[in-house]
Amino acid sequence: MRFLERLEPLLWALFSAGGTIAALLLPVHVFLNNIAMPLGWFRPDDYDYTHAARLLGHPLVKAYLAVFLVPTLFHAAHRIKLLPHELVLPPSPGIATPIAYLIAAALAIAAVVVIVLAP
């Protein structure tokens, strides 16, 4: 916990960066990739394997996705760690904090790995 206390400014900076990035980018991704695509609202070949593979194959797209997802995960962890405390009342934040950041870190690593591996 001492350790996390010293990292507070960094975690807050990540929280702020991730909050801004998610605010700007997330809605359009959810809407196009997870709603419009399954419902087939656009040209069908926009969503096939070749199209997706060509997009993900581009190094700029990979970098973009990493910069999008990693700070977003840490942004979310910063808020999630307090939700049980706020909704269920004490015990105080205590253990929820390191757990939330560990999960965010694990997901961030997973995200970077699959982004790099995807064709």
Binding site: L24, F31, N33, Y49, L69, T72, A76, L87
Partner: protein, 135 residues
């Protein structure tokens, strides 16, 4: 330094109740905005799974494309979208209140910053959308 006027057992402490946030619409707003973070995480997980299947090749990715046609998937993502929008709009209010932007000697009014933020968001969304669809 101790200034306590009375020993602690002589005072009455009113405790917060489980429903504290229901009583004030601004608290409800706050909890919704904080809860949005859970849905941002769910979205990130869905994206990670999608990329993993893409990495696995055309076969698994084809099965993914078939799976996402289910109504449950669309329903889940409509909820994610609602919370994503809650996050975007509330963030534009929070970020602009927290960041002083000075124009000359005066601070820019935060409503002007909020509106600029929303305009920038729409412009970026159109740009990202174009790349996803046509890139």
């Amino acid at each position: 330094m101790t200034l306590r006027v009375l020993p602690r057992r002589r005072v009455y402490r009113r405790r917060m109740t489980l429903t504290w946030w229901v009583k004030n619409p601004r608290y409800v707003n706050y909890i919704l905005r904080e809860a949005s973070s859970a849905f941002l995480t769910v979205f990130a997980v869905l994206y990670i799974v999608q990329f993993a299947l893409l990495a696995a090749g055309a076969g698994p990715y084809g099965r993914y494309l078939a799976f996402i046609k289910s109504p449950a998937w669309v329903a889940l993502n409509v909820i994610i979208l609602i919370f994503a929008l809650i996050h975007t709009v509330s963030w534009m209010f929070l970020a602009t209140a927290a960041t002083p932007v000075r124009i000359g000697a005066h601070e820019a009014p935060s409503w002007a910053l909020t509106i600029s933020g929303l305009v920038i968001w729409l412009a970026i969304s159109v740009g990202v959308g174009y790349v996803i669809l046509r890139g």
